[in-house]
């Protein structure tokens, strides 16, 4: 079961990478980045998965030395952080794209080669 999730994550990641390499449009590159990021987040979630376990939210205080049946909460906490970071980076990228567009009225990456060699 969890393998399916992992495959989806990996495929999304690859899709994002394909987008990086293939798109000429800056906005599409940013979208590719979010795909890439989402793929990675899905991969992360899949790592903490346990079959037949519950969400890591307890109904009652567990007894001492009792390990409740639940999925690993650590990757979930990490994903939470990663999502926020991804959000920040994406927002920043988008505002950069806006700024670049203001500059040249274009989103084609080939127009942004002022620095080279």
């Amino acid at each position: 079961m969890v393998q399916v999730i992992l495959i989806i994550g990996l495929m999304l990641m690859l899709l994002g990478i394909y987008g990086f390499m293939q798109s000429k449009n800056l906005l599409k590159i940013v979208i590719a980045f979010t795909l890439f990021n989402t793929g990675i987040n899905i991969i992360m979630v899949s790592v903490g998965y346990l079959a037949d376990a519950k969400a890591p939210i307890l109904d009652k205080l567990p007894d001492l030395n009792e390990i409740p049946n639940m999925v690993d909460p650590v990757p979930q906490a990490m994903v939470l952080t990663a999502i926020v970071i991804g959000l920040g980076v994406t927002a920043l990228m988008l505002s950069y794209v806006l700024k670049l567009h203001q500059e040249k009225r274009s989103l084609d990456i080939n127009n942004f080669k002022d620095l080279k060699w």
Binding site: Q3, V47, L58, D59, E66, I67, L98
Partner: protein
């Protein structure tokens, strides 16, 4: 053409890495040692029913502080970007006004969304949710308002104040942890209270509230700035 083949080859290469990851991946049969510790002790030590929250706010509190800083940075940088052209008078843009239906719905829903957001971050230690989620919901209310009234200018001043106050409070709560408990961001400054109640888990509800306010302010700030940038772009 050559480039396309190269891209394809590269994709194959990255695919190979992905394939290897998939091949080497084995499904967990039990919790990892770290996770087992959390499952066993977190509820006792931290007092939060939502273990993810316990980890995010307390055990890995430094990560969360970092996270907040990232949003903070992003908001600051985007505001800075906008300022470049602000001196030159922004020309009045002719954005299409929103429909009456939409405006009315916005008026109805905005307070509900705001309350929803506050509810989410206040109950972060008990139910799925927390400061980031709550903050995002709050920001969505502002987004709605902006869509309804494109000419609306969010008050940067108020937003900045909310952001600053909640940020400083967060840091001060962290320092209180050093003073009155085990270390930076320790939540046991207040008593853990009784498990499962709103006022439990030490200062987690307070921290999450501040995070919620801060994230809400930051995201609103980003949205507001971006919409200004967009107006400028027209």
């Amino acid at each position: 053409m050559v480039k396309n083949i190269l891209i394809l080859l590269l994709l194959l290469g990255v695919g190979l890495i992905a394939f290897d990851i998939f091949g080497a991946f084995t499904e967990n049969k039990e919790l990892s040692p770290t996770a087992a510790y959390y499952a066993e002790n977190a509820a006792h030590e931290v007092g939060a029913a939502n273990l993810v929250t316990a980890i995010v706010v307390t055990y890995r509190g430094l990560d969360t502080l970092g996270e907040v800083s990232i949003l903070f940075l992003t908001a600051a940088i985007i505001s800075f970007m906008l300022k470049f052209r602000k001196e030159e008078e922004m020309e009045a843009s002719d954005l299409r006004p929103a429909s009456e239906l939409f405006i009315t719905a916005t008026q109805v829903f905005t307070p509900i969304i705001l309350i929803m957001g506050i509810y989410i971050f206040l109950n972060g230690h008990l139910t799925p949710g927390g400061g980031f989620q709550g903050g995002a919901v709050i920001a969505s209310a502002f987004l709605l308002m902006l869509m309804a009234k494109p000419r609306l200018q969010l008050s940067h001043r108020v937003i900045a104040r909310v952001e600053s106050i909640s940020g400083i409070s967060y840091v001060i709560l962290g320092v209180l942890g050093i003073a009155f408990a085990g270390g930076f961001l320790d939540n046991r400054v207040l008593s853990l209270g009784s498990f499962g109640e709103l006022m439990s888990a030490g200062i987690i509800p307070f921290i999450y509230s501040f995070i919620g306010l801060k994230v809400g302010a930051e995201l609103s700030n980003i949205i507001g700035t971006m919409s200004n940038l967009q107006k400028e772009n027209k």
